[in-house]
């Protein structure tokens, strides 16, 4: 006979436990704790957390669109805010390619199409876009919030004009990255900032909430964002990371750091840490440990529940029948 939600339904205990857990999960995620800690307890908290995060991203994106719509920017400002952290014009490739000679390499219409929606162009199977994707370690250029074909055209024109004049936008913004090796103090400082042991000056969220580097103790970092173990290489070294961190372009990062930007020292420390990570031996991600720890935690919680309610009613009729059957007819 199947169990049902009628009086004395024991399954109800489990449902209630889940409610409690998912409640905990939600409240935890709102205070900004690493969301994955609860993931292995049950799927429900994960869902709840993910929903909260997605909700906030959606909200902030909407906000950005709104702001972008309000302010009619000049192409120069637009370039500085949205392109300069990944691209240079004649300064060599950073995270993305050097834009010098862009207009002669590609068709104008293609450029506009790509700037408006890079993912769509890649998805359409465009050979040029695919080749670009491959040469930049699978990093898709993030779409600029609120971009229109008109703005894209203006940007393309601006780049062409700049490459001719060899103008101000030659290099990425921010201070030029030092070339001498980082000190171990800087690396330590970077790790402390990453893991949240030291707060960011402007109050930005610690990286650990969403990212992992593979050398964090216990449960490691979050798995919502990509692993940053090899980010140093992926982003084209110090320079690329520096420009990227100074003004992160992806919607998720932008929503978190546009208003609470990292200071120069913080960026240097983080780069030091990332460089150190990339140089160190590549440890496998802590996922196996997660699973083990999660299973052990689940088992422990179940054991506590069992001990707490070990005196609970277990149903008697079925037991009487079972006892009789095993005893046999006397």
């Amino acid at each position: 006979m199947k169990k049902r939600a009628v009086p004395g339904e024991r399954a109800l205990t489990d449902v209630c436990c889940l409610q409690v857990l998912s409640f905990l999960g939600q409240s935890w995620s709102t205070v900004g704790a690493p969301s994955h800690i609860l993931c292995f307890v049950h799927a429900a908290p994960l869902e709840a957390t993910a929903m909260t995060v997605h909700g906030s991203i959606g909200l902030s994106c909407g906000l950005l669109f709104f702001i972008a719509g309000l302010s009619a920017q000049s192409p120069a400002e637009d370039y500085a805010q949205n392109c300069a952290m990944c691209h240079t014009i004649g300064g060599g490739p950073l995270v993305g390619p050097d834009l010098a000679g862009m207009s002669s390499r590609r068709e104008r219409a293609w450029l506009v199409r790509f700037i408006v929606d890079p993912q769509a162009v890649i998805d359409s199977g465009d050979a040029t876009a695919r080749a670009l994707l491959q040469s930049y370690q699978g990093m898709v250029m993030p779409a600029i919030p609120g971009i229109t074909p008109k703005r894209a055209t203006a940007l393309v024109d601006y780049v062409r004009q700049q490459e001719g004049s060899g103008g101000a936008a030659k290099t990425g913004q921010g201070a030029p990255a030092a070339l001498e090796p980082f000190t171990s103090r800087e690396v330590e400082r970077g790790r402390a900032l990453f893991s949240g042991l030291a707060p960011f000056e402007a109050g930005g969220t610690a990286c650990i909430a969403c990212h992992d580097t593979g050398d964090l103790p216990l449960l490691g970092g979050g798995s919502l964002g990509p692993s940053l173990t090899h980010v140093f290489k992926r982003f084209g070294g110090r320079k690329g990371l520096e420009t990227w961190l100074a003004s992160p372009p992806t919607p998720e990062m932008a929503s978190l750091y546009r208003r609470r930007p990292l200071t120069e020292q913080e960026i240097t420390a983080l780069i030091a840490y990332f460089e150190d990570r990339a140089a160190g031996e590549a440890k496998p991600a802590a996922h196996a440990g997660f699973l083990l720890l999660g299973s052990a935690g689940t088992a422990l919680i179940l054991l506590i529940f069992h001990l707490l309610w070990r005196e609970r009613f277990h149903g008697v009729r079925a037991r009487l029948v079972r006892q009789y059957r095993t005893r046999g007819v006397q």
Binding site: M1, K2, R4, A5, V6, P7, G8, E9, R10, L12, T13, C16, Q19, V20, L308, W309, E311, R312, F313, G315, V316, R317, A318, L320, V321, Y324, V329, Q330
Partner: protein, 496 residues
């Protein structure tokens, strides 16, 4: 002295034939609704047997009723501390399997079945899910000792019986059973009321009927776990607790409750008892062996001038006092001491009393006749097929004294009547028996009258309920004069 009145009941088990008419009457009137299919506010159990829900008397399992700890009464099922851990789920609730999965048959199939070589049959389907089910138990599955190695053999009342006595209960030609009809006992110290976190259960002031306020019930189901008699049920459809209401709408119009009214064996008696509410806690704290007598001492004599004046002071109506003086329950319980409360050791002070049944004797036979010339008249009570110990576990909190007293009196009355009518017992023997059973010839006649020749009016002495007065205390009839009736006339919303 704090005098209160209560509508109380006596079930004369010696007359019960186990026909289940009471159960069916109740089911048809009250629990033939969605969510209530599995409920039997009135049910009839075979003893020995495990009853409905299975093993309800085993409080180690169900944790119903009260216990005395540190000289204080404490609910077994819950407390302020325990409720913190059990806030979402009470861990001592019977599952549907311990009641039974209510079922019907898919009769439509008899009409809708496609043409086939075989006759279509109506297969059992669950009344809860509508799916086909394998019937595994029912509300009276162990009726007449059905499945006795599973059920009767596990009756908690067999505790303290010798191996020989247990075997005797089910041996060929000595096999014995009797019936135990059960409804809500409308207790003086109801654990269901005490356990409710919403305060939805209450004991009605004017007649002591225990009810669930359907508007206040929040589906905590603490009452289900706390009632040691398992007579509060949870309606899974309405999301509310439900229980026997002693057919108060019938009582208020002067009619006996449906189960009483329909009783074929006329085993049921109903009448007013006056009791002293100020002593309930003191009595409930007594030792097991003293409980039956202490409980009886709570019941006050409505002929006692002191009681009458105290009752008047407490606002009990003259008509109720008059009704209490005629109460058949008062006679059986207090005057004759023949009716005993079930499982008084749960300390809820039940107000439903049972006259324990006599059972066939195992006594010696002389020339095919029962040997009644023994110098020990009541030898057959100890030798009756149902051991006194078993009845004592049921009706005497394990103490045999009160049960023995009730059985002796019943037997003495029978023999007295045999001397009077059949003449196979001489008058002198019958008188001696009466004397030994603490009974006078007048009392014996009265017992005989109320047991065997009782009319409707003798059995059911229903006091006028004075609904108009009770309503006036709660709300002004003036305000409600243009509306249709009192109380809530709309349905209640589901609580969870």
């Amino acid at each position: 002295m704090n005098v209160r009145s209560q509508i109380s009941m006596v079930f004369h088990l010696d007359k019960c034939i186990g026909c289940h008419t009471c159960s069916v009457a109740c089911k048809n009137v009250w629990t033939d609704r969605k969510g209530a299919e599995y409920m039997w506010w009135n049910n009839v159990e075979t003893k020995p047997g495990t009853g409905y829900p299975t093993l309800w008397e085993d409080q180690e399992e169900y944790q119903g009723g009260w216990e005395v700890s540190d000289g204080k009464l404490q609910l077994k099922s819950t407390s302020k501390k325990k409720i913190v851990f059990n806030i979402f789920h009470n861990p001592h609730m019977p599952s549907i399997d311990d009641y039974y999965e209510p079922w019907t048959y898919n009769y439509e199939h008899l009409f809708d079945a496609p043409a086939s070589d075989d006759q279509p049959v109506a297969r059992p389907i669950s009344q809860i899910t509508g799916e086909l089910v394998q019937i595994e138990s029912g509300p009276n599955w162990d009726d007449d000792l059905g499945g006795s190695p599973v059920y009767a053999a596990n009756d908690p009342n067999l505790e303290g019986l010798s191996e020989e006595q247990r075997e005797q209960l089910s041996s060929v030609e000595r096999l014995v059973y009797f019936y135990l009809p059960r409804i809500c006992n409308h207790c003086l110290n109801p654990s269901c009321v005490a356990s409710c976190p919403s305060g939805a259960l209450y004991k009605r002031g004017q007649d002591g009927i225990v009810l669930v306020d359907q508007n206040r019930c929040r589906a905590w189901r603490s009452c289900v776990a706390a009632c040691p008699y398992k007579k509060v049920y949870y309606n899974w459809f309405a999301g509310k607790a439900e229980k026997c209401i002693l057919c108060y709408p019938r009582l208020e119009t002067g009619q006996a409750p449906a189960c009483f009214h329909s009783c074929v064996g006329r085993i049921r008696y109903l009448g007013v008892l006056l009791y002293d509410a100020s002593r309930i806690e003191e009595v409930a704290l007594k030792k097991d062996a003293e409980l039956v007598e202490a409980h009886r001492s709570l019941i006050l004599d409505p002929n006692d001038p002191e009681v009458i004046s105290a009752a008047r002071a407490a606002g009990i109506d003259e008509a109720v006092l008059e009704s209490a003086r005629k109460s058949p329950v008062f006679k059986f319980v207090k005057e004759w001491k023949m009716a005993l409360p079930p499982h008084i050791e749960y300390r809820t002070m039940p107000m439903l009393f049972y006259v324990p049944p006599l059972s066939p004797v195992i006594s010696s036979r002389v020339n095919g006749l029962v040997d009644f010339d023994s110098t020990e008249f009541f030898h057959d009570i100890d030798e009756s097929r149902v051991p006194v110990r078993f009845l004592a576990n049921l009706f005497g909190a394990g103490e045999e004294r009160e049960v023995r007293y009730a059985l002796r009196k019943q037997k003495a009355v029978r023999w007295w009547r045999r001397a009077r009518t059949a003449g196979d017992v001489d008058q002198e023997t019958a008188l001696r028996m009466l004397a030994e059973a603490d009974c006078t010839p007048e009392q014996a006649e009265a017992i005989y009258q109320l047991t065997s020749l009782c009319t409707f009016e003798d059995r059911f002495v229903i006091p006028p309920m004075h609904r108009e007065q009770v309503i006036e205390q709660a709300q002004s009839p003036q305000q409600a004069r243009s509306s249709a009736g009192f109380g809530f006339t709309t349905g209640t919303a589901r609580s969870i």
